[in-house]
C-alpha cells in the first residue's frame, strides 16, 4: 500500500488504540459488582488460561495467557468469569464502527486493537486533538475505556499505548522515539516475547538503551532475519504500513480436553459437533468455505494440522465426512490427544449452490428447517445424535489458548 505523505511534514502520524482490559471492561458494563475487584476471564477449569484480567488482578502478578491454576494461586480472591465471546465481538464491532466513521484509514489488528493512519490530518484537525476526541467518543458511546499512543510508526505508538495504560494517552514527538524507548526494558518491544527477552538478558541486554547500541550484525547472528527487525524497532524505526481492516477470512473452533483422551469415538463426535456448529455459522452469515483444516495436539504438545481444498460449500453433508477423513489421516500417532480443532478458511459471501444429483429436496428442506430452529432457539436446539453428548461449553474459546 502506498503510504500517504503529508505535504506539510515528511513523517507519518500513526495512532495505536487499545481497549483497556477489554473483556474485563465489557463484563463490568454488564455487572457493576465486578468494578474495583480482581477479575479473571478465561476457562474455569484448571487447564484453561487467563484470557484477560483486571488491573486489580495484575497487581498480584497475574497476566493474560497465564494458566488459570497459577493465576488462582497468585490471587485466590479473584473472581473467575467464563467470558462470552459473542458479546465481546459485539462490543468490538461497535468500537470498529465508531473508528470506521471517524478516520480515513485504519487497521484492526485484533479484537481490541486498532492502528489508525492520520498522516495529513494534522493540517486540518491536529492529530492529537482528533485522537483525544475519538477516545472520548468511544468512551461515551460504548462505555469502554481505551488508551492510545501517537507517533511516527506502529511500533512506537504501540509501546506508547502500553506505557499510558490504563485509560491514558501519549504522544511521542517525531525525532524523540529513540529517547522515549531507551529507558524501557527490552520486553516492551512488540514481538520481543519471553524467549527473545530471555536470550537478550543472557546477552546482558536489559534495557532498550543497551539494545540500541548492539550492532545489527550481532543481533542478526543471534536471531537471524528477525534480528534486524528487532534492531530497527529498538531504534524506533518501523516502516510497516497500515493494512486497512478487512473481514476475517476464516472461522474456527478448538477444544482442549479436561483430560487427554484416546477415545476415537468421542473425538469424532466432538469433531462432528464442531463442524455442525461452524457450518451453521457459515450459513447464518451467508458464507461459504473452500478449505477445511483439522488440528490435533498430542499430550506432548506435538501439533499436527491437515487441510484440504474443495469447491465452495456450507453443507454439513460435505464438510462432516471431510473433517472425519482429515482427522483419520492426521491422527497418525497412537497417543493421547490434548486438543482438537476445526477451521474453515477461504471464506466468501454466498449461499450454498444446490447440486442436481447429490442434493435432494428433502435434504435442502432439512437444512432450512434446522437452521430456522437454531436461529430461534439457539445453536444446540437441534443437533446430530452423535454430537448430542458434547456440551456446548466445550467450544468456549478460552478453554484452549488465549483468545
Amino acid at each position: 500500500m502506498a503510504t500517504m505523505w503529508s505535504p506539510a511534514t515528511d513523517h507519518r502520524s500513526i495512532i495505536h488504540m487499545d481497549l483497556d482490559s477489554f473483556f474485563v471492561s465489557v463484563e463490568r458494563l454488564q455487572n457493576d459488582y465486578f468494578v474495583g475487584k480482581p477479575l479473571l476471564i478465561g476457562g474455569g477449569s484448571d487447564r484453561g488460561v487467563v484470557a484477560s484480567c483486571s488491573y486489580e488482578a495484575r497487581a498480584f502478578g497475574v497476566h493474560s495467557a497465564m494458566p488459570m491454576r497459577l493465576a488462582k494461586q497468585l490471587c485466590p480472591e479473584a473472581i473467575v468469569v467464563r467470558g462470552d465471546m459473542e458479546r465481546y465481538s459485539q462490543y468490538s464491532q461497535m468500537v470498529t464502527e465508531i473508528v470506521h466513521e471517524a478516520v480515513p484509514s485504519y487497521e484492526k489488528s485484533s479484537i481490541d486493537e486498532f492502528y489508525v493512519d492520520l498522516t495529513g490530518m494534522e493540517k486540518f484537525f491536529g492529530c492529537m486533538k482528533l485522537a483525544t476526541e475519538l477516545k472520548a467518543r468511544i468512551r461515551k458511546e460504548t462505555g469502554l475505556p481505551i488508551s492510545f499512543g501517537l507517533s511516527e510508526n506502529k511500533t512506537v505508538s504501540k509501546v506508547a499505548t502500553n506505557e499510558s495504560k490504563p485509560d491514558g494517552q501519549r504522544q511521542i514527538a517525531y525525532g524523540t522515539e529513540k529517547g522515549f524507548l531507551s529507558p524501557l526494558t527490552v520486553d516492551k518491544i512488540p514481538m520481543v516475547g519471553e524467549k527473545t527477552a530471555y536470550t537478550l538478558r543472557k546477552m546482558g541486554v536489559q534495557k532498550i538503551h543497551t539494545l540500541q547500541q548492539v550492532p545489527v550484525e550481532m543481533l542478526a547472528a543471534v536471531f537471524g532475519k528477525m534480528g534486524r527487525v528487532i534492531s530497527e524497532k529498538a531504534n524506533g524505526i518501523d516502516r510497516t504500513p497500515i493494512v486497512p481492516y478487512s473481514e476475517r477470512k476464516s472461522i474456527s473452533t478448538e477444544n482442549t480436553f479436561e483430560q487427554d483422551t484416546i477415545d476415537v469415538k468421542k473425538l469424532e463426535s466432538i469433531l462432528v459437533a464442531m463442524t455442525e456448529q461452524l457450518a451453521f455459522k457459515l450459513r447464518k452469515e451467508q458464507q461459504l468455505t473452500s478449505c477445511v483444516t483439522v488440528k490435533i495436539r498430542y499430550s506432548d504438545f506435538d501439533t499436527h494440522t491437515l487441510q484440504r481444498k474443495m469447491p465452495y460449500t456450507s453443507a454439513d453433508h460435505v464438510l462432516i465426512p471431510m473433517v472425519k477423513e482429515l482427522f483419520k489421516k492426521a491422527y497418525s500417532r497412537r497417543m493421547l490427544i490434548r486438543l482438537i480443532g476445526v477451521r474453515f478458511s477461504g471464506l466468501v459471501h454466498g449461499n450454498y449452490q444446490i447440486n442436481l444429483f447429490e442434493d435432494t429436496e428433502e435434504g435442502i428442506k432439512l437444512y432450512q428447517a434446522m437452521d430456522k430452529l437454531r436461529q430461534r432457539h439457539g445453536d444446540k436446539a437441534v443437533v446430530r445424535a452423535v454430537g448430542m453428548g458434547v456440551s456446548r461449553r466445550s467450544f468456549n474459546p478460552f478453554n484452549g489458548a488465549a483468545a
Binding site: 465452495y312 449461499n351 447440486n355
Partner: protein, 374 residues
C-alpha cells in the same frame, strides 16, 4: 523421402489439427507431427494419446516414407513464409529434415516415425451421419455446461444418446444441465457415448463453416469423426453418465416469459455488482414484474433492476449464480425465452419460446439456498 507442397496449403491443413498437440506431453514425441507419404498422399497425424487428428494432403512425391517433425518449429516457419511451393527432404537414416524455399534453406532434426504412438482404429463400430451444422450447434449448446472436475470424469464430457427416432446431447456439471435433442438425426440402433470436452473443443474449431456431412463411427472405447480431409479419433469416457432424465422436473408451472436479450443484458449489469467468486444474484418475480438484485458485502456494492415480463404463477424469490444464467442466455438464440420455476430450492428450466421444429433445447439451472429466515 522428398516432397513438394504449397506452403500456405500445408499450413492451413496443419493448423486444423495442431490443437491436439499439448505443450508438455507425457511422451516427448507427441510434440511432433507424424508425416507419412503413401503414393503421393501425405498423411499428417497429431496426438495427445487421448485424442488424435489426422489430415490428408495431396503432394508431389516420388517415394514413400515417414518421419516425425517438430510441430512448433514447422508451424512457425510456415506461417512466416510467403506463399510458394516448398520442398521438404528427409534423410531417413539421420532423421534430419530440410525445408527449401525461394528464401533459403532451413534444417531441423526430426524423430523416428516408428516411435510415434499408433492411432487406434475403430473396428466393429456403429456409424451415424450428422451434418456439420447440426453437430456444431449441438456442441455449442452443450459444451459450456460440462464440468472440469476430474474427480467426476463422467461429467467432463458431453453425453450423446443415439436413438431410432432422435439423438440427444446432454452436458452437466451438477449445477446446471443442458439437453439438446434433434429428431432429424437418428441411428439404426440405440447407443450412447460420452465424448471428452477437449475432443469436442477441437471439433468445434475444426468443423468447416460450410455445411458438410460428418460421419461418426464408434465402438465401446473410441469414436471416429470424419469430414473433408480431416479425421478425429478420440477415446470415450468410460463411465456411467448420471441419470439426467429423472432430475429434470416435469411440473414447473410457475412460468415467466421475457425477451431474452433484455434479460441477458440486465443480468450482465447486475452481475458486475455480485460477489466476484460466487456471482450470486436474487430474482424476484411479483405479478408481471421481474426484479434482479445483487450485492457484494466485501465492497458494499449493490444493484437492482426491474423488468416487465409475462408471468403465470405465484410470486417467487430465488437465487442463482449469474454466470450460469448469462452463459445459458447467451447460448440460446430464440427472441423470447421462458423461465419455468417451481420453488426457491428447486431447479429452474430455461427454454426457448420459438425454435426449429427439428430441435428441442432445455437448459436446467440449480438455485442457491437462500436463507430468508434471518
Amino acid at each position: 523421402m522428398k516432397f513438394i507442397v504449397s506452403s500456405s496449403y500445408l499450413l492451413k491443413q496443419l493448423s486444423a489439427i495442431k490443437g491436439v498437440i499439448t505443450t508438455n506431453p507425457v511422451v516427448p514425441i507427441l510434440e511432433n507431427f507424424l508425416f507419412e507419404i503413401t503414393d503421393g498422399t501425405l498423411k499428417v497425424t497429431a496426438s495427445d494419446l487421448q485424442t488424435s487428428m489426422i489430415t490428408e494432403i495431396e503432394v508431389e512425391a516420388k517415394e514413400n516414407g515417414s518421419i516425425a517433425v517438430p510441430a512448433k518449429i514447422l508451424l512457425e516457419t510456415l506461417s512466416n513464409l510467403p506463399e510458394q511451393p516448398v520442398t521438404i527432404s528427409v534423410d531417413e537414416d539421420t532423421y534430419s529434415i530440410e525445408i527449401s524455399s525461394d528464401n533459403g534453406r532451413y534444417k531441423l532434426s526430426g524423430e523416428n516415425a516408428t516411435d510415434f504412438p499408433k492411432v487406434p482404429e475403430v473396428t466393429n463400430g456403429f456409424s451415424v451421419n450428422i451434418s456439420s451444422d447440426v453437430l456444431s450447434t449441438a456442441i455449442n449448446n452443450t459444451f459450456f455446461a460440462t464440468s472440469n472436475d476430474e474427480l467426476r470424469p463422467a461429467m467432463t464430457g458431453v453425453y450423446i444418446k443415439l436413438d431410432e427416432t432422435n439423438t440427444t446431447f446432454v452436458a452437466t456439471d451438477g449445477h446446471r444441465l443442458v439437453r439438446y435433442r434433434r429428431v432429424d438425426v437418428a441411428a439404426d440402433v440405440t447407443n450412447s457415448m460420452i465424448i471428452p470436452r477437449k475432443a469436442l473443443n477441437l471439433l468445434k474449431t475444426t468443423l468447416p463453416v460450410a455445411n458438410t456431412n460428418v460421419s461418426v463411427e464408434f465402438n465401446v472405447s473410441n469414436a471416429y469423426f470424419k469430414f473433408d480431409h480431416v479425421k478425429m479419433i478420440c477415446r470415450l469416457i468410460d463411465e456411467r453418465f448420471p441419470d439426467y432424465d429423472n432430475v429434470i422436473p416435469a411440473e414447473n408451472n410457475n412460468i415467466m416469459t421475457i425477451d431474452r436479450l433484455e434479460f441477458l443484458s440486465s443480468m450482465k449489469r447486475i452481475a458486475i455488482y455480485a460477489n466476484k467468486t460466487t456471482h450470486q444474484v436474487r430474482i424476484k418475480i411479483t405479478g408481471s414484474e421481474l426484479m434482479i438484485s445483487a450485492e457484494d458485502l466485501d465492497f458494499s456494492n449493490e444493484a437492482n433492476e426491474r423488468l416487465s415480463c409475462e408471468h403465470d404463477g405465484e410470486d417467487i424469490e430465488i437465487g442463482f449464480n449469474a454466470q450460469f444464467l448469462i452463459q445459458m442466455l447467451s447460448n440460446l438464440e430464440s427472441k423470447k425465452i421462458s423461465f419455468k420455476l417451481q420453488a426457491a430450492n428447486k431447479a429452474g428450466l430455461l427454454v426457448p419460446v420459438d425454435k426449429d421444429e427439428n430441435e428441442d433445447l432445455l437448459m436446467l439451472v440449480m438455485p442457491v439456498m437462500l436463507n430468508n429466515y434471518v
